[in-house]
């Protein structure tokens, strides 16, 4: 297949992106089930439905590029290359997890992959990214740093201060606003004086771009230009991805703020994974059977990750003070 690939990525790269998006989906859908059964301690916020944004952006990055994620961070971790088995153990609170089972869902980090951490504090990643971008600028290797925030977190002072800092230092930074339409359960009209995130960037002299976050190619193409600009010294930008989430703000959220039939419509007509699959198969880049094969492999990977996580030991009392302080 794919004698004539009409897309801006090779067939292998496209199938790799599809695999990552499918991995995020299966990972999150499995957590939805396992959390409902009471298997998982703490809290989880699922990224299912938003995969095109994470993978569309992260497919331009290497391990030297840093990202700061949000409380809804599993998708960012997987897209950035964090080991899925270690993530599952972390969420299950087991040894061998990304942070030895002591962080949980909202604190997964893997610096070897440039993943500086999910973050339970809204907007807290933005200043961290300014620091990472400043370091990247001094290193001079063309690396960048990316901050993800939700539409609600963009009201935090930390976020606005970071836009200012990134602008005046001309940092190789990208601020991604993942706009899934719901700031937890508060409407934007109530909480936000001017609802355009691009306008906020513009107020600090940063260019801002809006893309359809449910279209992998739209995100990939726009992010590619923005990231290239940052690598070449063009400075910071803001990217707003208009997207949808398939689960509640948190697991257990009754989602009474949704309209009747809204979720069914989102899953039927705005599923980024279905869209990508349709684009790849209709262009002849991949067959439905090839994609189904990837789906089976991913399912097995997630199943194995859960089995391994459940079998892994819990951290002991002796682990409480490890990885807390740095010795110089």
């Amino acid at each position: 297949m794919a004698a004539n690939n009409p897309f801006p990525l090779s067939r292998d790269a496209l199938l790799g992106c599809y695999r990552r998006m499918r991995t995020i989906r299966e990972f999150e859908d499995r957590l939805h089930i396992d959390f409902g059964r009471g298997d998982i301690p703490g809290f989880v916020h699922l990224y299912a439905g938003e995969e095109a944004a994470a993978v569309g952006i992260m497919s331009h990055l290497g391990d030297g590029d840093r990202i700061a994620s949000t409380h809804r961070g599993h998708g960012h971790c997987i897209a950035k290359g964090v080991d899925v088995g270690a993530m599952m153990k972390e969420i299950y609170g087991r040894k061998g997890g990304s942070c030895e089972g002591k962080g949980g869902s909202m604190h997964i980090a893997d610096l070897s992959k440039g993943m500086m951490g999910a973050n339970g504090i809204l907007g807290a990643g933005a200043p961290l990214v300014c620091g990472a971008a400043l370091a990247a600028k001094f290193r001079g290797k063309g690396e960048i740093a990316i901050c993800f925030v939700g539409d609600g977190a963009s009201n935090q002072g930390t976020f606005l201060e970071s836009l200012n800092l990134a602008a005046i230092w001309n940092l190789p930074a990208l601020f991604v606003v993942e706009n899934n339409g719901y700031a937890e359960s508060t409407s934007r009209d109530y909480a936000t004086a001017v609802n355009s995130y691009v306008d906020r960037a513009s107020g600090f002299g940063l260019p801002g771009v809006v893309v359809d976050g449910t279209d992998f190619f739209a995100v990939h193409e726009a992010a590619g230009e923005i990231i290239r600009r940052a690598r070449e010294g063009g400075g910071p930008s803001l990217l707003e991805c208009k997207m949808v989430r398939f689960h509640g703000h948190f697991e257990g959220d009754a989602q009474t703020y949704r309209a009747n039939g809204e979720l069914e419509d989102l899953r039927a007509n705005h599923d980024c994974l279905k869209k990508l699959a349709a684009q790849l198969t209709s262009a002849g880049v991949a067959s439905a059977a090839e994609l189904a094969d990837i789906d089976r492999q991913v399912l097995a990977l997630i199943e194995q990750a859960v089995v391994d996580a459940k079998a892994a030991p819990l951290p002991s009392a002796a682990d409480l003070l490890t990885d807390v302080y740095v010795k110089y």
Binding site: N195, V198, D199, V209, V210, A218, E225
Partner: protein, 360 residues
Amino acid sequence: MSNPASGNPCVGIIANPVSARDVRRVIANASTLQLTDRVNIILRALAALRALGVRQVLMMPDKVGISSLLLRGLARERTLGNAMPDVAFLTMEITSSAEDTRCAVRLMRAAGVCSILVLGGDGTHRAVVRELYLGSTADAPRIPIAGLSTGTNNAFPEMRESTVTALAVGLHATGRIPAERALAGNKLLEIDVNGGAIRDIAIVDAAVAFDRFIGARAMWKPDNLHSLFLAFGEPTAVGLSAIGGLLQPVSPRAPGGLAIRFGDGRAGSAGAIELTVPFAPGLIRSVQIAAWTAIEAGQALPVDLPGGSMALDGERELVFAEGDAVTVTLRENAFPTVDVPGCLHFAAQHGLFRHPATSQ
């Protein structure tokens, strides 16, 4: 449709909250018109409409912020005692996509607006005209539009202060100027795929590209172009229509259009000439021109590329595959616009803004 002379005219306003938001902000420093500026444009237009006696306005709602900012602005104007029309927001599902524009046009048509004021770029105006043109029966009244440019390229809407455009709309809406003097006919390009399976339009340009995906929609890579059809192209334009404008200008009011074939090596054709054009605001690029020819209205011109995409008024909109039969047909006098300079010249000539002096 509300009769412009009925004494109770209603004007529709469609303001795209996300025009001028694509990747050309990053690539070429294209302008970002802030929501607050867009709302101020609307408030100035509303003041002008009210001054001419338009008391009813129907607005497209949105979730991005124009509606909420406008409501705040109208409340402020009422507090200050400034006269404004009654502004009602359409009751409709908001999808935050071009479907909102199309839905708003349908509802405004059903409500009988006598004209629609549009804030956006070429793409927004195209969305409005598409619904008016493809969604109307042949005997339905033709609703004129008036454009305010808040987009990126803005080849179709003229750069003009909204107060002035709204005065022209108000003159027409209140019946002070007869339609034959207030309105102008416009060309468009009709796109047909597989004998009507897909029908679409472009009001300025329809570009055929090698890419077979929509992606980020905007066009900023000349190498992707296979061919270009123009309803008009002026030398003062920026964007795809500037290619025709600098090659063989065709004015919006002149008959005929232009078809251009690019030579980029991929199609096996070398360029006959190289043309330097403002491909987007702040983006000067060279394009290889293989051939160009004038086109006449009514000719169904085939797209001779086996699979690609079409950008309509600067944004990739549809993908076609090998075996799809795609044609482009120029239509003249296809939809009316309010002739803003014509209206105001008429008003000046006929003293429509003169009144007896009030005693001191």
